[in-house]
Symmetry: C2
Subunit: 217 residues, 2 copies
């Protein structure tokens, strides 16, 4: 792409000065534009108008940069007020989490599969666990409830952002016509796997789990 318009050539070439904030913002944009796989420090440098190596002055490694993106994303999540009923707090967190995954679907792959044991990560986990304690569950049941709902939320968001509805990932997918002919029940169900059904399907499982855990009736 051409350098930005309406500034004089030297200004455009110099760009703004580099800093963590600007690097992080551009990194997230690049990941969403090109995907995690294609994301490289060299392309990021190009996007920032600097050498790839300049980034290394601000972040010791690519992994540190990605960690910073995780923290930034976690810190952007709204935390529901503690006076809400525990089930509502959980619903609110789940809702915020899904919204985040939809907002940054490609970065979400990294979010979802890396443990959030940074300071912000643990703080967020504590917030969620609190909801289960607030519902009156004993430590073991709180831990298991947390886990079970976490499994569900993790699987749902990953599927919504990277799954079936994103098209085939096989190099040689079975053509739709063949699916229709050989496995009509799959073709028929496929209709309910599309994005317009995401909310209703997610809600079904969430309700079953919250009810089953005795947090909702």
């Amino acid at each position: 792409m051409p350098t930005s318009k309406s500034t004089s050539p030297p200004a455009a070439a110099a760009r703004q000065t580099l800093n963590r904030e600007r690097i992080e913002t551009e990194a997230l944009a690049l990941i969403e534009a090109q995907g995690l796989e294609a994301f490289s420090t060299r392309k990021l440098g190009q996007q920032l108008g600097c050498e790839a190596m300049s980034i290394y002055y601000h972040f010791p490694s690519k992994a540190h940069l990605l960690d910073a993106l995780v923290d930034r994303t976690l810190n952007g999540l709204p935390i529901p007020p503690k006076n809400l009923r525990p089930a509502l707090r959980i619903r609110s967190i789940a809702q915020a989490w899904r919204a985040m995954s939809r907002q940054s679907p490609r970065f979400y792959l990294w979010m979802a599969l890396h443990r959030w044991n940074s300071e912000s990560g643990v703080r967020f986990l504590a917030e969620v666990l609190d909801c289960f304690y607030a519902a009156g569950l004993k430590p073991e049941q709180a831990a298991r409830g947390f886990r079970v709902l976490g499994y569900y939320l993790l699987g749902a968001t990953l599927d919504e952002t990277s799954g079936y509805a994103q098209g085939p990932s096989s190099v040689q997918p079975l053509p739709d016509e063949a699916v229709q002919r050989l496995y009509p029940q799959v073709a028929q169900a496929g209709r309910y796997f599309q994005p317009e059904h995401f909310d209703a399907t997610f809600e079904l499982g969430l309700k079953l789990l919250l009810q089953g855990l005795g947090m909702e009736d």
Copy 2:
């Protein structure tokens, strides 16, 4: 590593002849030994005792090879007999799926995040959907039930194979000591996140979902 012992040098150097079967087997072994990220056609060639490029005679690309590994893994899954109760068939499939994820935890990351729209993939999906139809669910409820249980199974296996119990993934994790001090409820719950609790936790959520879907009482 040294060339294999007890054969004359030329025989050892020649190794066995290359074929898809041998390449796939060695690829899976290499992935489990070194991880998905580190898996490269060049290292695989080294492992096989040939040039990296020789692999390209048997597979058009690395993606085709990974697709073949997905198919091979799917085809290795036992399919429960149709005369079992639907809920038992689902439990049996979930059990087999989890066993597979534990057997190939590192390759599982690829398995889980790529859509199985190859022939073997769709056949497997059809098998699972059948269980929901056999339980008497209408197409919409069958599709949603399938999805909800699939979300749960996906999240659980990913967490079991790549999650919390595998240790920190942050570059700068909050030290255990700090977690203990700042977020005691997280430290306390962490005990139930260890592998010895995987089965009981998984069973809890599975039971809640199957009961909620009316497939088990």
